[in-house]
């Protein structure tokens, strides 16, 4: 039977069901089920978040000035962006403004996270969906060198000897039986299209990116005092500035600023010489694989971020754009008000929660987090061993957030489509340039590849923004302003009896919001709507499917028992838990369980 969803997808459950279930237990996991027709096309997709996300309930009664430290532990990847969102929410509730230097430093930190995350995502989590490192062993180093020089003439690491060395290192690694990171890929699947030389080039950059990323994170250590869990502060940033000091513990001096500057430059170089050329080169071989667009051609959402000036979140002041596009109408970009109870609502009709009032959508300020686990009548299997989920009933721990009733995609591609539609100068220039280079029409953006390319463009743009805010910070300090925190309202006695606030950021994976209610100096209610809640959302009360589900629709699978295409598209969203499609078997091998029913 074919059912059309209100957002325009034809769901057909008649074909064989494929279950990709990485159910792991703790940090946030996903299960995916699809129905595939006789020709291998996906005709129904069901995405299940199998993690209870109960941060809301453990923050009750805590000191709002501490909330950031808890939210930093939500996720194993992006600590800082949750912390930033949290301090913004509390500042918003209490009417606390931050100094200009704090805005610049926060922007540098947030941009650093975007850049780090995008590079790590592309090379270490996503590249292996396109690049075959085993095939790289067959490459001719000389031809690889020629390829490298052709795709990126200014990259210094390009000699045949260099590629031969890397190839030998890879060989040793593989021969010692430690394939480790590259273990259990579907390396002979025809979905891999690169010639061995491109595989060797990209695998080499995998290693170069590893070396770079450990430099990049040092910016968090310098401004946040430490990593991987940097310090944050309601009212500003916790690092004092003292440009005349030499090595005082924690204080920002010229030596540390110079270190930051050199890291920013290294990233700019890498993005220009390696990351972007790789995306163009690899993308060139996959130009005909334009699946995976899902909701991106019709409904995308961005909250915007990186305010030019402290405390000013008006849309024209944000370097990462804010806006919503619905019904595929790129000529109208709607403004987004995260306080408006009519705009953002979360539904739980297909989620394992219940609201006091059934079928209703709740704005996060009035959000409820009451678990209710029940399975539908068409379930196959048992409560503890689900063989096939019943998507007609409740089927996910992820709520279904909607913007004015619409399922939305968030993330780099959403930001770039909003920016492009708004005529944002830098973004439009990057997008049109890339499409021209690759000889692709604008519609090509709405794809898995488009998502991956938008991330690379954004990394490059964020590098330039980071330099801008670094220069701004240094200029401000030179003009005598060393202020980094506003502690006028630090004391809870200065707070109103009741207050509510919202913090917004653009996390690497997309729009992130924390909504807080404070009563008598303590947290009364705390709700996080994270990017993966938007993208991974289940169906809503109207039957609209979410972004992950939509993105898988109508994709052709080369071999249904090897879900390369499913992983490729899901990974392109950089799901909150990058490892969420892996489980470990008892002998330690990495493994994705795939069952065909």
């Amino acid at each position: 039977m074919v059912v059309q969803t209100p957002n325009g997808f034809n769901l057909d459950t008649s074909g064989k069901r494929i279950v990709v279930d990485p159910v792991t237990r703790i940090e946030g996991h996903m299960r995916c089920e699809v129905n595939v027709d006789d020709e291998g096309y996906i005709r129904n997709a069901v995405s299940t978040g199998t993690m209870w996300r109960g941060l809301e309930v453990i923050l009750k009664g805590r000191d709002p000035r501490d909330a950031w430290a808890f939210t930093e532990r939500i996720c194993g990847v992006c600590t800082g962006t949750h912390a930033l969102t949290s301090v913004r929410a509390v500042e918003d509730a209490l009417g606390i403004t931050i100094p200009e230097n704090a805005n610049s430093i926060r922007n540098i930190m947030q941009l650093n996270l975007e850049i780090h995350d995008h590079i790590v995502h592309f090379y270490h989590l996503h590249a292996l969906d396109w690049v075959n490192p085993v095939n790289a062993l067959r490459a001719d180093p000389k031809a690889t060198s020629e390829l490298q020089q052709a795709v990126s003439p200014s990259h210094p690491l390009s000699s045949p000897g260099y590629f031969r060395d890397v190839q030998n290192r890879l060989k040793q690694f593989v021969e010692s039986g430690q394939l480790g990171l590259f273990k259990n890929g579907y390396w002979d699947n025809p979905a891999y299209l690169l010639p061995p030389e491109a595989d060797l080039m990209a695998t080499t950059h995998y290693l170069e990116a590893l070396d770079l990323q450990k430099e990049v994170v040092k910016i968090h250590t310098i401004f946040g005092g430490k990593n991987p869990h940097p310090n944050w502060l309601v009212g500003g940033v916790p690092c004092p500035i003292n440009v005349h000091s030499t090595g005082a513990v924690g204080a920002i001096n010229m030596e540390r600023l110079n270190h930051v500057s050199s890291i920013i430059d290294k990233c700019i170089e890498f993005n220009k010489n390696v990351y972007l050329p790789d995306v163009v080169a690899i993308g060139g071989f996959y130009k005909n694989w334009l699946y995976g667009g899902g909701l991106s051609s019709q409904s995308v959402l961005a909250y915007g971020d990186i305010p030019e000036n402290a405390n000013d979140f008006s849309p024209e002041q944000l370097h990462l754009p804010r806006g919503a596009i619905i019904n595929g109408d790129l000529t109208t970009v709607h403004d987004v008000d995260v306080r408006d109870p009519e705009q953002i609502q979360e539904f739980v009709d297909h989620s394992w929660y219940e609201y006091a009032e059934k079928g209703k959508g709740l704005h996060p300020w009035d959000g409820e987090t009451q678990a209710k686990f029940e399975l539908g009548p068409n379930l196959k299997g048992t409560r503890t061993n689900i063989e096939e989920i019943d998507e007609g009933a409740k089927y996910s721990w992820i709520k279904a957030p909607r913007w004015r009733g619409n399922a939305m995609e968030v993330g780099p591609l959403a930001r770039y489509i909003v920016g492009y539609a708004k005529g944002h100068e830098d973004i439009t220039e990057q997008v049109t340039g890339l499409l021209r280079t690759m000889d692709l029409p604008v519609e090509a953006l709405f794809s898995t590849l488009g998502r991956t390319a938008a991330r690379a463009l954004e990394a490059e743009y964020c590098g330039r923004l980071q330099k801008h805010f670094f220069d701004k910070l240094v200029t401000n300090i030179k003009n005598g302003d060393e202020s980094t925190a506003n502690v006028a309202k630090w004391d809870p006695k200065t707070w109103p009896k009741e207050a509510k606030g919202v913090g917004m950021t653009e996390a690497p994976r997309g729009a992130l919001g924390h909504w807080v209610r404070i009563k008598d100096g303590r947290i009364e209610n705390y709700q996080c709507v994270v990017p993966t809640t938007w993208n991974g959302s289940p169906r809503d009360s109207q039957g609209n499917i979410g972004a992950f589900e939509a993105s898988l629709m109508n994709t052709k699978m080369e071999r249904p028992e090897e879900p390369v295409e499913i992983l490729r598209t899901l990974h392109s969203f950089d799901p909150c838990l990058a490892c969420s499609t892996h489980v470990m078997s008892p002998d330690g091998d990495e493994l994705t369980t795939v069952k065909i029913r």
Partner: protein, 202 residues
């Protein structure tokens, strides 16, 4: 030449006994001080962010909760090549995949510490989001630290009693006491859910 050591606690403090490793390094830094060649780090559930720390170290001591089907509270010490294998043997949480990858990556890049020591503890309860350490596991913090000190001593690294360097540890708000004492009551914050992920407390 003096060897550099990294003493690392990993795990998620928000998931009851999953926080064992992090609580061990916290307690270690409260009671013992080392020279500049030793770093004490709360690694949380992070992966690649930990690479720069591994690169600087010759010796790596890891505290972690590991599920090896033993009696809750049993300590298990693993050394050398067995460490990455062990951490993947029976995966309990995603941070272990992450950390196994970190070691594999460090090996690939040629800067994995030469000496690897894992001090693991079998958890009693990890399905309690927002919860703290169970008694039987908390009781193993001191013995686990003793083992680490002894192993380090054998490698020529000596601790002296007193407060150690806590700059790379958790914010005071989520240190063990503040975290566990500040937990909302079951009435204020729901603690029950479904059988697989969030079982009702008995």
């Amino acid at each position: 030449m003096t060897q550099a050591a990294l003493v690392l606690g990993i795990g998620n403090v928000l998931w009851a006994d999953e926080g064992f490793g992090v609580r061990c390094v916290e307690t270690l830094a409260e009671k013992w001080a080392f020279g500049d060649n030793v770093r004490i780090l709360d690694g949380g559930t992070q992966g690649l962010y930990l690479l720069p720390f591994l690169e600087e170290a010759d010796i790596l001591v890891v505290f972690d909760a590991v599920d090896y089907g033993l009696e809750p509270g049993t300590l298990k010490i693993v050394e050398g090549d067995a460490v990455p294998r062990f951490m993947g043997a029976k995966k309990m949480s995603l941070h272990q995949t992450g950390f196994q990858d970190v070691i594999a990556t460090a090996q690939l890049m040629g800067y994995c510490p030469e000496t690897l020591i894992l001090i693991g503890c079998q958890p009693a309860e990890i399905e309690d989001y927002g919860g703290g350490l169970r008694e039987v596991v908390a009781a193993q913090i001191a013995p686990a630290i003793d083992i680490a000190l002894e192993k380090l001593r054998a490698l020529g690294i000596h601790a002296r009693p007193g407060r150690g360097d806590d700059r790379l540890l958790a914010d005071p708000a989520i240190l063990r006491q503040a975290y566990e004492e500040g937990r909302p009551s079951p009435e204020a914050a729901c603690r029950t859910g479904d059988d697989r992920f969030f079982p009702a407390a008995d």
